[in-house]
Symmetry: C2
Subunit: 223 residues, 2 copies
């Protein structure tokens, strides 16, 4: 048994190698890379739209979109004037590093300050696949309920930043933001939690400032 | 190549055999079995709570809950007086038929009219795994957005019933129910779509009537 390699371990090892190569090239380019992970419909694309509107004049942004089907999300970001490449996974429930590598080859993006990788809508499977990102961002909409971090602990433990979305719906739900904050802190004591509404703009400036700070921090480090 | 068996095909074939055995035993018992599938936080457990409150005096209900972590969902249904068994998958992103088989062995439920199997919160992975159910139910909350059927086509094509949840949030979102209805009809021309709010009760009686009708229909068929 000691010589048997679990097929999943083999897949993850190959992914880790591809992710390491991506990370080196992102470091050389000085591009900050985020891997955005959430349930379907938590508002990943809508947050990226709000972010793009605020930052597009100051930073060179680009986006890789992961979906099972439809170009819809990439189209939404292209409409705001940033380059976006859509990966269609067919049926696969997450992106992997080799898909991102191929996407970058095909997309031929201009030099970027920030690359957003919007993963397939799934709070579970994307968690294990490193895409060479600087950090993972977990999104959770207030409509999804305040019990989610403990029910889906892996992503909330691994994401450096948790973004609570759709805070404009708080008055119409029983979502307890403090309860979520306690769960996230338990799972990830060093994590950052931001409450946002892409609709009203609440918290979006703080999110954009976080991106600018992380980009500056990355560029201060030796590649 | 023709003799190579894809590991995933092997897993699905083993699952299909286990599901067929479950289906036979559910038929012999006259139990209607539903497999509820949605994103995290679409309101599966909340719909089951509302359903239980309406039907518990008339029908013998039971529940199997699938989650990555926490007993929370099973506890919520036990609190309403129905037997509920929690399957904890560790990290797995869906239930399979053998887990359901083991759960039924361990749970020792009384004879049931309706067994609800609430799958792990995931709109993708549970779709391919038959659990011996009479039909799949896809849930979609209005807060998740009206583009989801075409973005996650497999589940909406396979679910006989699509339940739109949290319709009380319609005034605060841009969700277009007609657009969703058109997508679901395209993917699944024979499917049924119900709009519900577990909070206000809208549509929950129609959902309960559908369950009663399906149960009666099943019992009219030879086992």
């Amino acid at each position: 048994m000691s010589e048997t390699i679990d097929p999943r371990q083999k897949i993850l090892a190959a992914n880790a190698a591809a992710a390491a190569a991506l990370r080196s090239s992102f470091a050389a380019a000085g591009t900050l890379v985020l891997n955005l992970i959430s349930s379907p419909g938590s508002g990943k694309t809508t947050l990226l739209e709000a972010t793009t509107r605020r930052l597009v004049q100051r930073l060179r942004l680009g986006c890789i979109e992961g979906d099972i089907a439809t170009e819809r999300d990439a189209d939404r970001l292209r409409a705001l004037g940033i380059p976006a490449y859509q990966i269609l996974t067919g049926g696969a429930c997450h992106l992997d590093a080799r898909q991102v590598h191929r996407a970058l080859d095909e997309a031929v993006f201009p030099p970027l300050d920030v690359l957003f990788i919007e993963n397939v809508g799934n709070l579970i499977c994307p968690t294990s696949y490193d895409l060479g990102e600087d950090f993972k961002v977990a999104l959770l909409s207030v409509a999804e309920g305040d019990d989610k971090p403990f029910k889906y602990p892996a992503i909330f433990a691994r994401a450096e930043v948790t973004v609570i979305t759709k805070s404009d719906l708080l008055p119409y739900t029983s979502f307890d933001l403090d309860a979520v904050r306690r769960q996230v802190t338990t799972l990830n004591p060093d994590g950052v939690l931001l409450a946002t509404s892409s609709r009203t703009g609440e918290g979006v400036d703080a999110w954009c400032q976080l991106l600018a700070d992380r980009l500056a921090g990355k560029r201060r480090q030796p590649a």
